[in-house]
Symmetry: C2
Subunit: 146 residues, 2 copies
DNA sequence: TTGGTTGCAAAACGTTTGCATGTGC
DNA sequence: GCACATGCAAACGTTTTGCAACCAA
């Protein structure tokens, strides 16, 4: 599952060299399955004994976002950007405002909507970000708490 | 339309003093009709000969967001937060990736979806952000351009 | 060998904060 | 008068960048 060249072909697709750092970062993103901040990636790589600098994390992420391999998003409230692998299956996340946990949800409610925007406004949709927040099952009884 | 106390009642609702700066900022947001950054607000206020400091703009915005009078959002790509009046009518925006113009769209495609999330995951939705990007009618013929 | 990749430190950027002054109520 | 609002400058946290060393192809 985690050979050091697991992502060689993917990187080649983007004319990117297959380096230890890029492979490890992609592997970490894949293992996470959820969006991570640059710093979280940096720390997880350290735990894996991958010596890397934070600026390299940012540079790799920027490169991968440019190539479309990684999706960057940002919560309305938060200051840190989140990064996740750009999977084939389009999906979204539920952000619990209490426990901060993130829940992935397959599928997307916007397909019809995008067609409607094209028909009504002549707007050609190339992408969207949807961020849903609220209380997860475990936290919903604590809505009153500070 | 633009008396200096136009927003006195609104501010009173939030136990906030009716000051020249708050009224002018709210008026500017209303006149814009579209989300603005803190700096854009700062500049528009200057154009109106309202002497204000940028930190006051941030402080007023923070206060108004806390009270629910203003909505803060953030594009996935951008680093600057956007602020707009919290209108009664829920709506979203289309962001043209070429000309950077923002188009408001009344209504929301997510009502049914939120019910589905509650039913299937027990997730109690309290809000969402939807950011749609693509090419507006004028720009859609230039999709190939850099 | 050569151009892309990385580390380090410093800069840049948007945003927040401490403190003294000013102002609405 | 008093509590809240504001200006200024300095601090903050995240992200970017300049430059020299490094390494994949």
């Amino acid at each position: 599952m985690s050979g050091k060249d697991t992502y060689k072909d993917l990187l080649k697709t983007g004319n990117l060299k297959s380096t230890k750092h890029r492979n490890a970062l992609l592997e970490t993103l894949e293992q996470s399955g959820l969006p991570l901040t640059a710093e979280e990636l940096f720390l997880r790589l350290k735990e894996k004994n991958v010596s890397i600098s934070l600026s390299t994390v940012y540079r790799i992420l920027e490169t991968l976002v440019d190539k479309g391999f990684v999706i960057r998003s940002q919560l309305a409230t938060g200051n840190k950007a989140l990064y996740e692998l750009s999977h084939k299956d389009h999906h979204h996340h539920l952000h619990c405002v209490r426990c901060r946990q993130i829940f992935p949800v397959d599928g997307c409610p916007l397909e019809d909507y995008e067609q409607l925007l094209a028909d009504r406004f002549g707007f050609t949709v190339t992408g969207h970000n949807l961020e849903v927040f609220g209380y997860c099952e475990k936290c919903k009884d604590h809505k009153q708490d500070g």
